[in-house]
């Protein structure tokens, strides 16, 4: 806790910027958090929320800008310094040591000691205190690996409470816990704010935000487009507009009328997977763009992985051009069934960051580019690489530039280009425009429309509803590893968002 009381803000972020290779994650963002209030930080995926949280908790440092805690400027070089300054956090990713017990995890980093040795009694008592606050009945000595994901999340929250911080940051704490458990969490949150603490609440769930937060800051593409808005003064639509930016929805959408009478290029009938998908029905015709929408954790990427043979399909059937198939691996999908998969995480899965643009673009066609002794035809490889550099308008200094040096949009073009080079009939594109600026997004949508016009069947996976409404012909909604319904896209955002949100919540209502 700080002694300075000159500032009316418990936490103030002034013009903080942060850049990563290829993307400006934060561009002079501001945020003000008053004591005793729950403040919402809103933004779509890749808007920069998590980056700000990481800066506030000392995991990363800002390139420029100031952070003031209770009126005093602070620079955090480690998570420990942030905790010492009175900032506690519950992170989106689970950061628990599974080999330790619940109590050890809660006390981690602030472990009480006596004469230089761990005071185990204090550890257990402290853990008990915060667990009671959450009404979470569990023995503090339980090893973490026996806990369910939701229980693990509760331990994370308990850890955030343990340090008695003046400012508590909650990064999507309710993403994987039940309504009941989140109710308890909000009780605690309100108790904390009554004591004069400030809480920053990051969430995708607008219902929760409107129910529990007083003010909000909205991030879009790394900028704060709204600062400290009183939520009582605005309605949900205004917030959604701020989140997605209307510019996107106004992109000229071509009139598309895909022919759905022929045999689907790919069809899933009652597919069940090892990862927990149940009776998934989905079909994409030639020339059609189908969107698979769902919240984070709904099982969309996992379905794509199962389709490509990376996870096991345990039931139902997959048909390619009407024939029942079993796909062993990505190579099988590519060579036998002409399916390409543009991955969600281009940095970790889609690209070879330390290799050249040319090598990345030709990776799927090395077989065609080599002679019968397996020796690469270098000229053909150069021609193939240049063809996609030109047709996708990838901005490079040469085809031998290292991909890691390119901007996010150009990296994504390379990631897509390698599958275009393979000339597949079916293309699964996972989160095509995450972390890409608005204008490049438009170029991408044109490209995907062109691909469909060429007769490819395209399945787009996205958690960006505005993108879905703009891009696809049909929206399939996935929630809890089930397809809850299909909506024909009318390209009217309000109408579509209502229909889709209804489908997102259908399973939970059915269960309740």
């Amino acid at each position: 806790m700080t002694t300075t009381t000159s500032s009316p803000w418990a936490l103030e972020v002034r013009a903080v910027s942060k850049a990563f290779p290829g993307v400006r994650a934060l561009d002079a963002v501001n945020l003000r958090l008053a004591p005793g209030e729950v403040h919402a930080l809103l933004g779509e995926n890749g808007a920069g929320k998590s980056t700000l949280i990481k800066i506030l908790t000392g995991i990363q440092t800002a390139d420029t800008g100031q952070i003031l805690v209770g009126g005093t400027e602070r620079v955090f070089h480690s998570a420990h310094e942030a905790t010492a300054a009175g900032i506690g956090a519950v992170h989106q990713e689970r950061n628990v040591v599974t080999a330790f017990t619940v109590a050890e995890n809660i006390a981690l980093g602030n472990t009480p000691t006596r004469h230089g040795r761990v005071d185990w009694r204090a550890v257990r008592d402290g853990a008990r205190r915060v667990l009671d606050m959450l009404d979470f009945r569990i023995d503090p000595d339980t090893p973490m690996n026996r806990l369910s994901p939701a229980q693990t999340q509760l331990v994370e929250i308990a850890r955030g409470l343990y340090a008695d911080s003046a400012v508590l940051l909650l990064d999507e704490p309710t993403a994987s816990i039940s309504d009941n458990e989140s109710g308890l969490l909000f009780d605690v949150v309100h108790r904390l704010t009554d004591q004069g603490r400030a809480v920053l609440f990051v969430s995708h769930k607008l219902e929760e935000v409107f129910a529990h937060c007083r003010t909000a800051t909205v991030f879009r593409d790394g900028r704060s487009v709204a600062e400290a808005v009183q939520l009582a003064d605005v309605d949900r639509d205004t917030v959604v507009d701020l989140l997605v930016g209307r510019t996107l929805a106004k992109l000229d959408v071509p009139d598309r009328a895909p022919d759905r009478t022929s045999t689907p290029a790919i069809e899933l009938r009652g597919v069940e997977t090892e990862r927990g998908h149940r009776s998934v029905d989905l079909s994409v015709h030639r020339g059609e763009i189908v969107g698979l929408y769902g919240l984070v954790g709904a099982g969309r990427t996992e379905l794509a992985h199962a389709l490509l043979g990376l996870d096991k399909i345990t039931g139902g059937e997959v048909r390619v051009s009407g024939e029942v198939v079993r796909i062993k691996d990505v190579g099988d999908a590519l060579s036998r069934h002409r399916i390409g998969y543009v991955t969600e995480d281009r940095k970790a899965e889609g690209l070879f960051l330390d290799q050249t643009v040319a090598r990345n673009l030709t990776v799927t066609v090395l077989g065609q580019l080599s002679n019968r002794w397996g020796v690469l035809r270098r000229k053909a490889a150069r021609v193939a690489a240049d063809e996609y550099i030109d047709s996708l308008d990838i901005r490079v200094s040469s085809r031998d530039q290292i991909v890691g040096q390119l901007s996010g949009g150009n990296q994504q073009k390379v990631s897509l280009g390698k599958w275009l080079a393979a000339r597949t009939d079916i293309l699964v594109i996972d989160e095509p425009t995450v972390g890409i600026d608005v204008r490049t997004k438009g170029a991408f949508y044109r490209l995907i429309w062109d691909l469909a016009d060429q007769g490819k069947a395209v399945l787009v996976i996205s958690s960006d509803l505005a993108e879905m409404v703009t891009l696809v012909d049909t929206i399939a909604v996935m929630q809890d590893f089930e397809v809850t319904g299909h909506v024909a896209n009318t390209h009217d955002y309000d109408e579509m968002s209502k229909a889709v949100i209804r489908l997102v919540h259908r399973t939970s209502e059915n269960v309740a």
């Binding site: 003010t215 900028r223 209307r246 070879f352 077989g367 397996g374 040096q405 600026d437 204008r439 170029a443």
Partner: protein, 376 residues
């Protein structure tokens, strides 16, 4: 407010294809550590050669030294192969011993030289393939697998030697073996002109191996796919590269090269013993790392590996000529390895920094937002 997505403009892109400036080219030549190695080797040769003239003696110094460089280059390639996928082979020594043993048994049974050598290479490759299968199928770290393999071979190889021969060594007189191991270019005469005496024939075998491996990595589909696997196994898997097969075959290649090095060492000394390969492990890492091969995978340098080995052998030879004892030698070689590892790390950090810098320049400066900000 309608969005205007700019039409792709080809002209703009071509303008941006600027050739790297001479300064940058000069900089990249300097940062290429192979250039540094060549300079260092040349300086050392001149220094040692002028201080100790016996250095130039073809029969006792130059010849044996080049033989060592020939054999250890192949050992270095063996390690480099697994490093190309970001893994390691701690059993290079054991695999070399197995290769030597295989060749010795075949030759002992009257097989011709070439057959014996092939058997040795296959024996080494088999050990490597077993490691590769364990790494891919059982998903065990290569460190653990090859460590276990090296222990297994440490016991197995002497046991087999004891079983097939009365002594602990096998000496064969297969036609051609002694010539391969001990002849120099001085033995190759065209009429009355013979080659220099200090250049062993094994060096040519080593160079041929280097050419094949370099061609494989640079020009073939399998080599390219192996390097991409090393660059990012996950991305390779999702790019339809048969990652498991590439990992297994690269371990087999490593074993084959170690086996070949074992055969070469046996040929040069004239007898095959269980002690073949005992000193291979540290040089096997020194060569590739000094030569610029990345420990994390995705980049190899065959020439660099050989230059790295040459430098190590040269330092060793020089110190011997100056009368430094074996302890001093080992201290120095350990220090060189540490230094090489540090350079590897520094290179890594530097390339990441330049990547970040380049990408920052690529990001357009923040434009004034066209949408009005909503403020409280």
């Amino acid at each position: 407010m309608t969005s205007t997505v700019p039409r792709p403009t080809v002209t703009r892109r071509i303008d941006e294809r600027i050739n790297p400036s001479t300064k940058e080219r000069f900089g990249s030549a300097l940062s290429d550590n192979r250039v540094g190695l060549v300079v260092l080797i040349a300086l050392l040769v001149v220094a040692i050669g002028s201080a100790r003239p016996t250095f130039w003696n073809p029969q006792f110094v130059m010849g044996p030294m080049l033989t060592n460089i020939a054999i250890y280059s192949v050992v270095g390639l063996s390690q480099m192969a697994v490093l190309s996928i970001g893994q390691m082979n701690l059993a290079v020594g054991g695999m070399a011993a197995t290769g030597g043993l295989g060749a010795a048994i075949a030759l002992d049974h009257g097989a011709p030289l070439v057959v014996g050598m092939v058997v040795g290479v296959i024996a080494g490759a088999a050990c490597g393939a077993v490691c590769g299968l364990l790494v891919t199928r059982a998903d065990v770290n290569s460190f653990v697998v090859t460590l276990a393999m090296s222990f297994a071979l440490l016991g197995l190889v002497p046991a087999v030697y004891g079983w097939v021969s009365t002594g602990a060594a096998i000496t064969v007189d297969t036609p051609g073996l002694a010539e391969l191991g001990r002849w120099t270019t001085a033995n190759l005469c065209l009429g009355n002109t013979c080659g220099p005496a200090g250049v062993p024939l094994l060096l040519f075998l080593s160079i041929a191996t280097m050419v094949v491996v370099a061609f494989g990595y640079a020009r073939t589909r399998v080599g390219r796919e192996t390097l991409l696997t090393g660059s990012s196994a996950q991305a390779a898997l999702l790019s339809a590269i048969p990652v498991g097969r590439r990992v297994t075959s690269v371990h087999a290649l490593s074993g084959a090269l170690a086996g070949l090095a074992g055969v070469m060492l046996g040929a040069s000394t004239g007898s095959f013993t269980p002690s073949i390969g005992q000193e291979f492990l540290i040089p096997s890492f020194l060569g590739p790392i000094l030569g610029g091969t990345l420990l994390v995978g995705g980049y190899v340098s065959v020439l660099g590996t050989s230059l790295g080995i040459a430098l190590t052998v040269l330092i060793r030879q020089g110190l011997l000529l100056f009368g430094v004892g074996i302890e001093g030698l080992n201290i120095l070689l350990g220090s060189v390895l540490l230094l090489a590892l540090c350079t590897d790390r520094i290179r890594d950090v530097m390339s990441q920094r330049s990547r970040l810098r380049a990408s920052l320049q690529g990001v357009p400066a923040s434009e004034p937002s066209s949408e009005g900000k909503v403020a409280a």
